[in-house]
């Protein structure tokens, strides 16, 4: 019985830890598949986290909060899109600037909300949560955003490889000149992709401030945006691999806590290294085959497009 409880706790905690990485990662994957590299994920997540929190506390409705968070992420992404797509600014520099801006701006608007209490998304949906048996309590912690993150890889897989829109998106990311010659509006498609990425980052940030650790605190995303970016490369731009990477990263983090709590005879330093070691190993395994990496990376990634004809 006790083992079952711990096993359920590990599975649920892994899913929850992986959710923000998956949501933000999928947004970025779609963005990058259209040929745009947006390094502003961390900043957009922070905007989503603070706006989502403020919106939920102010209106009492987490749905309003989540929608506002997506809009906030998309608004920041729009700034990026205008600068890099219309004005053809450098994508790497603009993305970094976007993160720095997001860190500061989210802190500024959130400053008077630090320390405001908020009940978590699960307690909001199941008010009886804290009185349930431990296993039921654990299962109730799987909130709708976790479900969304769980079905997303399959939806994204289908969209990218089995739909016309997905084919067009990939075409734009592979060769914008060819897509343009075929009559597709490269810039419009890229705008949509960047805005989608921003909205997903905003949602991922709001997951952190509304469900994962319901609170607002400056810089609370704590680097998860960068991990999501790394996971996109780790997945070689494939949705199912991205899901696997996020779960792996979530699992090793949670497994470290569980192992220490259970008193297993393992070094805490070694355990703390695990998620990063796992990422490095997989990256090495993937990039061992240079042609495969090249085949999978969107060929036009990071290259500005200017319609000449």
């Amino acid at each position: 019985m006790h083992e079952l409880e711990i096993a359920v706790a590990i599975v649920v905690a892994t899913l929850r830890a992986a959710t923000p990485l998956m949501l933000a990662g999928f947004g970025e994957l779609v963005t990058e598949r259209s040929g745009v590299l947006n390094l502003g994920v961390e900043g957009m997540m922070l905007m989503g986290a603070s706006v989502g929190f403020i919106g939920t506390v102010a209106t009492g409705s987490p749905i309003v909060g989540l929608v506002l968070a997506m809009l906030a992420g998309a608004a920041l992404a729009l700034v990026f899109a205008v600068l890099t797509l219309s004005l053809m600014a450098n994508q790497v520099a603009t993305g970094l600037a976007l993160t720095i801006f997001g860190v500061g701006f989210s802190a500024l608007i959130g400053v008077s909300w630090v320390g405001t209490p908020l009940q978590g998304l699960s307690t909001d949906i199941w008010p009886s949560l804290s009185t349930q048996a431990p296993i039921v309590q654990q299962l109730m912690l799987i909130d709708p955003l976790v479900w969304l993150a769980a079905i997303l890889p399959f939806v994204a897989q289908r969209f990218l490889y089995r739909s016309r829109a997905g084919l067009v998106l990939r075409a734009v990311g592979e060769s914008h000149d060819v897509a343009h010659a075929l009559g597709y509006s490269v810039l419009r498609i890229r705008y949509f992709a960047v805005l989608f990425g921003g909205a997903m980052s905003g949602l991922a940030g709001a997951y952190l401030s509304l469900a994962y650790s319901p609170m607002w605190s400056e810089n609370m995303v704590a680097g998860r945006g960068w991990i999501a970016l790394a996971l996109v490369v780790f997945s070689t731009w494939k949705p199912l691999w991205l899901a696997l990477g996020s779960l792996l990263f979530g699992f090793v983090t949670i497994a470290q806590f569980q192992a220490e709590g259970l008193g297993l005879d393992l070094s805490p330093h070694l355990l703390a290294m695990l998620p990063y070691i796992a990422t490095i190993i997989v990256l090495v395994l993937i990039s061992r085959d240079a042609t495969r990496l090249k085949l999978n990376a969107p060929a036009a990634l990071g290259r500005p497009f200017h319609a000449t004809a």
Partner: protein, 361 residues
């Protein structure tokens, strides 16, 4: 001339909060004191407590001082040195650098500004014009351990810790010794999150400990995530740095708080009077540098009285938190009966006592 102006310009650009530096008053020069904070002030936490200390200083000395601060100064890179140098150049006569990482920049600027006095928090290197100060956080931890030992029903206390360094280890051992002195069956489970600040990880670690049976959790990290997580799960918690009762009105039992005001007032008075000397201060409950915050109503009166008695004994020196007999995890005697650990051993503490479930490396 050109170079000077350019470097001045660079220094002011380095301060996003440059506007916070007040201009020197022209009439009746007050004594200028500067503070450097590692984080934004916020409403709770390490930096917030230093800000309370600064406010206490201003309230106590009134027009005799101006106390300016620069917040959110990163420890890494050259920013810290530049900001400290700027404060010194602007005529601040006493500068408090309030984070461990400011140690080297403080000493560097102190060397080139011998007339300016510095006090560095939690460091171990001093100079003729650089003092150090810190607090015996473990004394406050010991008191929370007494409460935890009395309140736990599962006999499991969960401890979310940042890094296995002596300052953190002292707290874990103090809590364990105190809890087991009133309830010998207590185990303290330690999880290291390898970061000072990541509310998501801190919360996940607390959730893990709770799922493993802990009904009291405490943290040695910088956010209030553990206290808020405990409130939602309905288990007891303790706050750290600041009073965190409002983050867990039902379940936060009390907090270990840092009170720097009296030190700032005394040091500044000495500096004004010209009697300031480079010193090393390690204050505890007795000097008021460490104090428990308000108690939750859930703490029984008998426990409050027990804590008050222990506080009085620690203040009078009749109770030392690290007094023998103390065994380590392997059962070897670390402190013999009748003896107690000296400051040097406490400062370098790198072993867990019996009753701690966790590993240091």
């Amino acid at each position: 001339m050109n170079t000077t102006r350019r470097s001045l310009l660079r220094a002011s650009l380095a301060l996003p909060a440059a506007g916070l530096l007040t201009r020197p008053a022209l009439a009746a020069e007050p004594f200028k004191v500067g503070f450097i904070y590692v984080a934004p002030i916020g409403d709770a936490g390490w930096t917030y407590q230093h800000e309370l200390g600064r406010k206490a200083l201003v309230a106590a000395l009134g027009g005799a001082v101006t106390a300016t601060y620069v917040e959110n100064v990163p420890e890494e890179g050259a920013d810290a040195e530049r900001v400290i140098r700027k404060l010194a150049a602007d005529g601040h006569k006493l500068i408090y650098t309030t984070s461990f990482g400011f140690m080297e920049p403080t000493l560097k600027v102190a060397k080139t500004s011998p007339k300016v006095k510095f006090a560095h928090c939690t460091g171990y290197k001093r100079a003729p014009n650089v003092s150090t100060y810190s607090a015996r956080f473990y004394e406050g931890r010991y008191l929370t351990g007494l409460i935890a030992g009395r309140m736990t029903k599962t006999n499991v206390i969960g401890y979310v810790a940042a890094f296995p360094i002596p300052e953190v280890v002292q707290g874990i051992n103090a809590v364990t010794l105190a809890a087991r002195s009133v309830n010998p069956n207590v185990t303290v489970k330690v999880v290291f999150v390898s970061t000072w600040f990541d509310p998501g990880k801190e919360r996940a670690a607390a959730d893990t400990l709770i799922s493993q049976g802990a009904d009291v959790v405490m943290h040695h990290t910088d956010s209030s995530a553990v206290v808020q997580g405990a409130e939602e799960k309905g288990v007891w918690s303790f706050g750290y740095d600041s009073d965190m009762l409002r983050f867990g009105p039902k379940t936060n039992l009390t907090s270990v708080t840092m009170q720097w005001g009296d030190y700032y007032i005394a040091q500044t008075k000495d500096a004004i009077a010209g009697t300031w000397k480079s010193t090393d201060t390690w204050g505890g409950l007795k000097s008021g540098m460490v104090a428990l915050g308000p108690f939750n109503k859930a703490v029984p009166d008998a426990v409050v009285a027990e804590v008050a008695a222990a506080t009085a004994k620690i203040e009078s020196g009749t109770l030392a938190p690290f007094s023998g007999p103390i065994k380590d995890q392997a059962g070897a005697v670390k402190v013999a009966a009748g003896a107690s650990l000296g400051d040097g051993d406490i400062l370098g503490m790198n072993w867990f006592t019996e009753g701690v479930q966790g590993k240091l490396g």
